[in-house]
């Protein structure tokens, strides 16, 4: 059907555009504008030029928070995506269909804050399950203040993240495996491929596009990661698990430096975009997709 009047079309999209502009565009532009200002939430913001950005690049806590973010992304690519892939491989091979699949997916359905509090208790050095377990197996010397030691805090948070999302990626990969054409798999079996060869040589290469999406989801999720960090350590001990998002919240809601906080969020957005663009370039130049 052809629209009879252009004005009518405009009117029909107006409410959606209005809401989008109000809830997304306006704050977006506002944040960029505020990132060039000094403002404590009161009175009128004053123009600060690039001061906020210069300060951000000199801020050792903020700069190191990107290191923590990259560590978190790299670790979660292994414990979430790679782990999810392996779990999906095991499950799609026909074994453990029912209960394990549900059990592995349950953490995805729990609220993040609940999980963070729960694991905070597991890692608690005084009464936590982790140290109790180590004592029980006779490794008293391995007991740690897990979330209080800069060397173990970040890996501990990444591990919890893996515990949650491995099941999520497992579900995605499992769905991708399920829609692979059966004839290819059957021919491979006839050619004598065992489950392991089948998995690495046939199934994984054939779901390359899905794994690209999964990795991108994991990376962008890592850039946005906030709740686990906020509840489990809130950046501590002494900023060793500070990620850009937790630092941003401190700048805005604790220090009331809305201009500085805005500049941090603009920088984080740019870094996120750059990472995503490079990732896409890298994935698209590597090899041809397998057609099926």
């Amino acid at each position: 059907m052809k629209p009879t009047s252009k004005f009518g079309v405009l009117i029909l999209v107006a409410p959606a555009v209005f809401i989008y502009a109000f809830a997304v565009l306006l704050p977006f532009v506002g944040t960029i504008a505020l990132s060039f200002a000094r403002w404590n939430g009161f009175g009128t913001p004053e123009f600060a030029g690039f001061d906020n950005y210069i300060r951000a690049f000199h801020d050792t806590v903020f700069v190191s928070s990107f290191g923590h973010m990259l560590f978190y992304i790299a670790t979660t690519l292994v414990v979430e995506v790679a782990m999810g892939l392996l779990l999906a491989g095991v499950i799609s091979s026909g074994r453990f269909m029912g209960y394990p699949r549900v059990a592995l997916f349950i953490p995805v359905m729990l609220p993040m804050v609940v999980i963070a509090v729960l694991w905070g208790a597991v890692f608690n050095p005084d009464f936590g399950a982790m140290n109790a377990f180590l004592s029980a197996i006779g490794r008293e010397d391995w007991r740690q203040v897990w979330l209080g030691n800069p060397a173990t805090a970040l890996p501990a948070i990444s591990l919890v993240s893996g515990w949650i999302f491995a099941g999520f990626y497992m579900a995605i990969f499992n769905a991708a495996f399920a829609r692979l054409p059966q004839d290819v798999i059957e021919s491979a079996r006839l050619d004598g491929a065992n489950e392991r060869t089948l998995f690495w040589r046939i199934k994984v290469p054939m779901i390359r596009q899905v794994s690209s999406v999964a990795m991108l989801l994991c990376i962008t999720g890592g850039i946005q990661g906030f709740d686990l960090f906020y509840v489990m350590t809130n950046g501590g001990p002494y900023n060793s698990t500070e990620v850009p998002t937790t630092y941003m919240v401190k700048a805005v809601f604790r220090d009331m430096e809305i201009g500085f906080g805005s500049s941090l969020s603009v920088i984080l957005t740019i870094v996120g975009l750059v990472i995503a663009i490079f990732f896409r370039k890298w994935r698209s130049t590597r090899q041809e997709d397998v057609e099926y």
Binding site: G41, F42, D59, P125, D126, P150
Partner: protein, 425 residues
Amino acid sequence: MRIDPKKLRRLLVSVVMTMSVALTSACGSSSEEGDKTLRIAFGSNGSDGQKVWDQAAAKFEADNPGWKVEFQVQNDDLYQTVGLQNLLTSNNAPDVYFEWAGARLVNKVNAGYAADITDLVSSSGLDQQFAEGAFGTTSVDGKVYMVPFTSDVTNVIWYNKDMFAEKGLSAPTTWAEFLTLCEKLKSEGVTPLAVGNKDLWVAGNWIGHLISRSAGESVYDKVMSKQMPMNSPEFVKGLTYLTDLQKGGYVNASANTIPDNEGYNLFLQGSAAMLPIGSWLIGIAQEQAPDINLGWFNLPAIDGGAGSQESIMGVTTGYIVNAKSTKQDKAVEFLKDAFSADLVGAWNAAGFTVVAKSADAGTLDPVTQSMVDLLNSGASIVAPPDTGYDLKMADALNTAIAQVLDGVKTPQEALDEAQAKVETQ
């Protein structure tokens, strides 16, 4: 069905128009003419506190026919961060609002949200309800900007009296005695000190006090107000006392990972013998461990410390009259009702150590009374880093304290880093 595009257009235009009219009118609905509503903003005081407020409001409304008191109550954390900010810039801005004396009060004065009520306080007779000098901490440059509400001691060292008696221990008065006591407790398998320092202010408050004892109140104040560097030798020396505790292993190893309330629990459940925290522990103990026999001692004296060795770390809260309010006289009148001698007893019963004079003394439980006596002992009062000074300064110092508490940095290294952090801001 065929829809006439013209009709549709007319309909949609009218819908959009109505929507925008509704939106704009909703944004601009504030009636200033003849506004007889007094708005009071604060972070939640709990149901007991609210009952006292309601009594004050009832009295005010009875004395001022046609007037109404409206409470703008928010969650405590929200109020302290963005909540108050949003209220003050909104159309229904409060006429009276809660604040902490110190840096936060000065900020409100500088931002033009605090009315100079020096004259109103004396003309209304509100000052008669307070002891002389009570307005000292709530004044800036000799002008009164705030009516004091409560005074809290934020750091004494609480101990379990029964546990001490059982082991034949007594409260120490000097730092050396304190260390001996810690060593003894540790050798008996009890964690000497419990601290829940995940949010950094807990140890910051306690060790800030220790630093002020060693470096002296004026050096402490100067460093925290950015007039001297963080890594001044006086501060380094003050922080070195913390390494005594760290090396001895006298503080729970989990200190930097658990929040304040878990630290209280370690103490209340008896797995730790002492807890450095403020007077609010009394209310928490009543609720969670009613049987515990609470005792306290002030921070032990440091031999050769430059500061007063009797000093108290404490904070005053109060109510500011909004400078933008057109009802300032009524606002002061309301505060006069709220902090009248009749209501002081009710405030105390609700767990607030209010500054205003009470009609009948001696209704407090002995521990609360001992806190009030400590505040009134005339010792100099030091402000905690986080409520007394710029939050970024507090954060830099508190982070350094957390590092030394865990032994990952020496006092010198930690304070050098803190100074570098402060300089980039």
